[in-house]
Amino acid sequence: MSTAEPSDKIALTGGSRRDRMRRMGDQVFSGLALGSGVLILVALSGVALFLLIQGWPALTADPSQIPGGDGFVNYVAPLAFGTILSSAIAVLVGIPMAIAVSLFIVFYAPKRIAQTLGAFVDLLAAIPSIVYGLWGVAVLGPAMVGLQGWLEGHLGFLPFFKGPVTTTGRTMFTAGLVLGVMILPIVSAVTREVFSQTPRKLIEGALALGATRWEMIRMTVLPFGRSAIVGASMLGLGRALGETMAVALILSISGDVTFNLISAGNPSTIAANIALKFPESSGLAVDVLIASGLALFAITLVVNMAARSVIARAERGAR
């Protein structure tokens, strides 16, 4: 074994050229990292600012100039109504399903295949929304005609199912269902994660008391995951509010403000309206669409911020 000759003394203060280069490397690299982070801050502020600049003319223009001739607020209101209606259906359908799917994967499915099943659910999120739209028009819509007819016949006294029912199935009901399928994987991803983190000792404690599996879930898993469920639902809502192409393709739009979910006359949504009108618009019409996009941005921002803070609190609680 050779001996370690004390190497040429490296001064601890490192004045050599290479040491200066190294310290510069550190600075450049941390500067780049910091710069990227700041760029994101700037970009997002930019989103709001540029939309505001471009949308401003629509907010200040003479009401008669706005399409519809009744001012911006009256232009957006029916769209906002359609947006909220379609998202509400999506949430009502998608969230219970998502929770059930998460429970199935975490607590009911055989452990060996649970991960694979989760991957299949995640694939739902990978399908492009345009494909959901095509599928909604070609498959789900026609398939829903029978069910919608039945709803009209038996529940027609409710405003939702007053009819007359369409023969294409391209209704608010169908669009909402498709949105529900689209938000399911997003909600399920969060709830699955939180359900699987339910402390073992709680689960075992409940089972040791003689609880059935459902009683165990009701006693431990659901209370433990409650705020995560709320947060995930809002995340799903945010996604449904902004979903564009599926709605634009599926919905047969008349612009009416109605709760009737199964007729041919449906309100549009903010996002779908932009996609449908934008390519053929010019001048003030573009500004109006951008301003409506700004409104959508603001709505989803609030919903997502609330969702994030609820989820963050849930995660802190879980730790």
Partner: protein
């Protein structure tokens, strides 16, 4: 002997002294569902809607099982069975759209999923023939540019958050990245449009605008996944490197990033898969044309999702060739997206082992 009674009434169902009291036969569940499956097949053969037959048979079987369990096993067990059946059904119901959707697209898309579709554009094509070569090229260019912009920014931001970030700025960036994940894709498109319109006028349409819009959607996904991967690199590896007198940036570049690489690539591929099918942001930024345009800085550019949308939404006369091309484009998109997801999974399984 009232003193021998427990002070609190015990749970119903636990009063029996035997442990086996009241239970459905072991094979009850598979047997009932076996019968239900046969019934469903029968109904379908008899001309009933396939989906309706399955739903009906499953529902009847479920109600029957729960009712039976109620009589034999008591209320608690029956409710437990009810939930089990509901949850399981919900899972299969959730996967039904996936199956139906893939099947539909495969069937309808295969009609025009031919060589011509991939080799020719729509230039001077009316009616039959033509293809999506120009759209595929556009999609590759736009998504490629978006990836080139998003990956460095996203990865560096994740590095900042995990390795350097402290205090308020870190909190602020984390928060903004969270918010970015929630930006509706159409708003991202409007943003890119608004930025370019300010400098080039409102009629502007370019491939790069679409790439910017997609980046806004892609960056937060890349940041999130990279952040997760960097966080699970054990701290002991960083310490080992520092203890060798290695500087921080070399430690990050040569030790931390290689260790996290497989997971990062997986995340990036998933992010690409997410944005490659985005339609709305491209609809408002790059528009559509019928001929090949390979220059993202000059004029409109076709792309697969918008091609599919346009062909379906405003077909020519007769509509069939247009609709077929729309479905073929959708099939191409789904294949690309599923392939990317598969690649991501394989990369992680093959190379991501040293973190588990």
């Amino acid at each position: 002997m009232s003193t021998a009674q427990p002070p609190v009434p015990v749970l119903p169902g636990t009063t029996g002294s035997e442990l086996t009291a009241g239970k459905l036969p072991q094979r009850a569940v598979p047997a009932v569902y076996g019968v239900a499956a046969l019934a469903a097949v029968g109904l379908a053969l008899a001309g009933m809607n396939r989906a309706l037959a399955i739903v009906l048979a499953a529902a009847v079987a479920g109600v029957f099982l729960v009712g039976w369990a109620w009589l034999v096993e008591g209320r608690r067990r029956a409710i437990d069975r009810l939930v089990t059946i509901s949850v399981t059904s919900a899972f299969f119901a959730a996967l039904a759209p996936l199956v139906s959707l893939v099947e539909t697209v495969a069937v309808k898309g295969s009609a025009r999923f031919d060589a011509e579709f991939f080799t020719s554009s729509m230039r001077n094509v009316v009616g039959e023939g033509g293809g999506a070569y120009h759209a595929i090229l556009g999609t590759l260019i736009i998504t490629g540019l978006a990836t080139l912009m998003s990956v460095p920014i996203g990865v560096l931001t994740a590095i900042y958050l995990v390795e350097y970030g402290r205090g308020r700025l870190k909190t602020a960036i984390t928060f903004f990245v969270d918010l970015m994940t929630g930006i509706p894709s159409i708003v991202a498109g409007l943003f890119a449009f608004a930025v370019f319109a300010i400098f080039f006028g409102p009629g502007i349409r370019m491939g790069i605008m679409g790439a910017v819009a997609l980046s806004i959607l892609m960056i937060p996904i890349v940041v999130r996944s990279t952040e997760e991967m960097l966080k699970i690199v054990p701290n002991s590896l960083r310490e080992a490197s520092y203890a060798l007198g290695v500087s921080k940036w070399r430690t990050i570049v040569k030790v931390v990033l290689p260790t996290a690489l497989a997971g990062m690539i997986t995340g990036i591929v998933v992010a690409i898969a997410r944005v490659i099918g985005e339609t709305a942001p491209l609809l408002v930024t790059v528009g559509a044309i019928t001929s090949v345009n390979g220059d993202p800085f000059n004029g409109r550019m076709s792309n697969l999702p918008v091609f599919s949308y346009d062909s379906y939404r405003s077909p020519g006369v007769p509509p069939e060739p247009y609709l077929q091309r729309a479905w073929a484009a959708a099939l191409a998109l789904i294949i690309i997206v599923l392939a990317l997801n598969l690649v991501a999974r394989l990369v992680y399984r093959r190379y991501g082992t040293h973190l588990r």
